[in-house]
């Protein structure tokens, strides 16, 4: 019993004496630790350190955040407003567009209509000629926007832009008959048979 009590006393004494026991370090130990740590830091943590510093730096955080935001906005903008080419095919213009020839004559071109039942690449173009002025085929051919309608089938025609057809001899419209203007049928245009297509050429 006395031994047990003494063992306990020794144990308590040892705890008090040795639990916080410390021994001073030498300079050799210190320099060795510092050198090893620098070596470790250089070879193993270069990327990690720079990455951590970047993340922690508030200025850099701000710049990276703005760049990401701008990229997101560009992406959203592109999605919302796609390119024009797609728009033209999907949404043809509804209003007639006008153009002027070299002689300042105005011609009205009705919007082309794509017959959905037929091949989409084919389109019909109707040109409304102003009753005021007479336009010769020659003027029309020399206009900036000269088109050639090529016949692909008896019922439909296809439209090719920016092609100047070679000149043909045409009858001149006499000045006497001003009231009844004879419009020489243009080689560019072909008469259309009545269809479900409402756009037809009008003669005045």
């Amino acid at each position: 019993m006395a031994d047990i009590n003494q063992d306990k006393l020794i144990e308590e004494h040892l705890k008090r004496l040795l639990s916080d026991y410390s021994v001073g370090y030498t300079e050799e130990q210190k320099t060795k630790i510092i050198n090893e740590f620098q070596h470790f830091k250089l070879h193993n943590n270069n990327i990690k350190i720079s990455f951590r510093e970047i993340i922690r730096n508030k200025t850099l955080q701000f710049f990276i955040g703005t760049i990401i935001l701008v990229l997101l906005l560009i992406y959203v903008f592109v999605k919302i407003f796609p390119s024009e080419k797609k728009d033209v095919i999907n949404n043809p213009p509804s209003e007639p567009s006008t153009y002027t020839t070299t002689n300042n004559d105005t011609c009205q071109i009705s919007p082309y209509h794509i017959d959905s039942a037929k091949d989409k690449s084919s389109a019909t173009l109707t040109i409304h000629i102003s009753p005021k002025d007479t336009i010769s085929n020659k003027q029309l051919l020399n206009s900036d926007i000269s088109t050639q309608i090529t016949e692909t089938s008896p019922k439909t025609v296809s439209l090719d832009t920016l092609y100047n057809k070679p000149k043909r001899k045409k009858k001149r419209i006499s000045k006497k008959n001003t009231d009844t203007d004879e419009i020489v049928p243009l080689p560019l245009l072909e008469p259309q048979k009545p269809q479900s297509n409402p756009d037809t050429r009008e003669e005045e």
């Binding site: 006395a2 003494q6 144990e11 040892l14 040795l18 639990s19 410390s22 030498t26 630790i33 830091k41």
Partner: protein, 184 residues
């Protein structure tokens, strides 16, 4: 709890990391040297392992997710790393040391001697008595009695069952106290 050390101080540039490291060395390395002296068999081994384990613990703590660590955490990790290194360095066949030194058998408890003789002994002498123990007994005694580890933690670190840890500690205490009493 002790001082708190921030990871970013060690990873900074422009000599700030050296300053943080110097601070850590000044505060913690003496404790690490003391721990190594208790756990190791010789002073040379203690000096070598103190530096090695100090660096390895620092690297491990810097690689963790936590942004800071305190002295207590550092020392606990140091002890674990030290114990694992010592167990890995053991060579040869282990023999359980349950024998008592022959000289000690002659001693009997003397009612007329001062029962508090052990209080006059310096710490280094106690450490010499601790070093006489078997490696496992020395480790178990240090961890359970002096460093306040639980039996479960010790069993996990040393890779022994809890029953064997209990047996080890009882044997370690008996051998140590008998060794200390024999000096009287």
């Amino acid at each position: 709890m002790g001082n708190i050390y921030h990871k970013q101080d060690f990873l900074a540039h422009h000599n700030k990391d050296v300053e943080a490291l110097n601070n850590l060395i000044t505060q913690v390395l003496p404790r690490c040297n003391g721990l190594a002296k208790r756990y190791c068999k010789t002073d040379e081994q203690a000096n070598e392992l103190a530096v090695k384990c100090f660096l390895n613990v620092l690297k491990e703590l810097l690689n963790r997710k936590e942004d800071e660590f305190d002295e207590t955490t550092f020392l606990k990790q140091f002890i674990i790393y030290l114990v694992k290194t010592l167990l890995a360095q053991r060579t040869g066949i282990l023999i359980a040391d349950t024998t008592i030194v022959a000289i000690l058998k002659k001693t009997q408890s003397n009612l007329f001697t001062n029962s508090e003789y052990y209080k006059k002994l310096p710490a280094d002498e106690f450490i010499q008595h601790i070093r006489k123990l078997n490696t496992l007994q020395q480790i178990v005694f240090n961890m359970l009695v002096l460093d306040n580890f639980s039996i479960t933690e010790v069993a996990e670190i040393i890779q022994h069952s809890e029953l064997s840890i209990k047996a080890l500690i009882e044997r370690a205490k008996y051998n140590l106290y008998t060794s200390i009493k024999s000096i009287v």
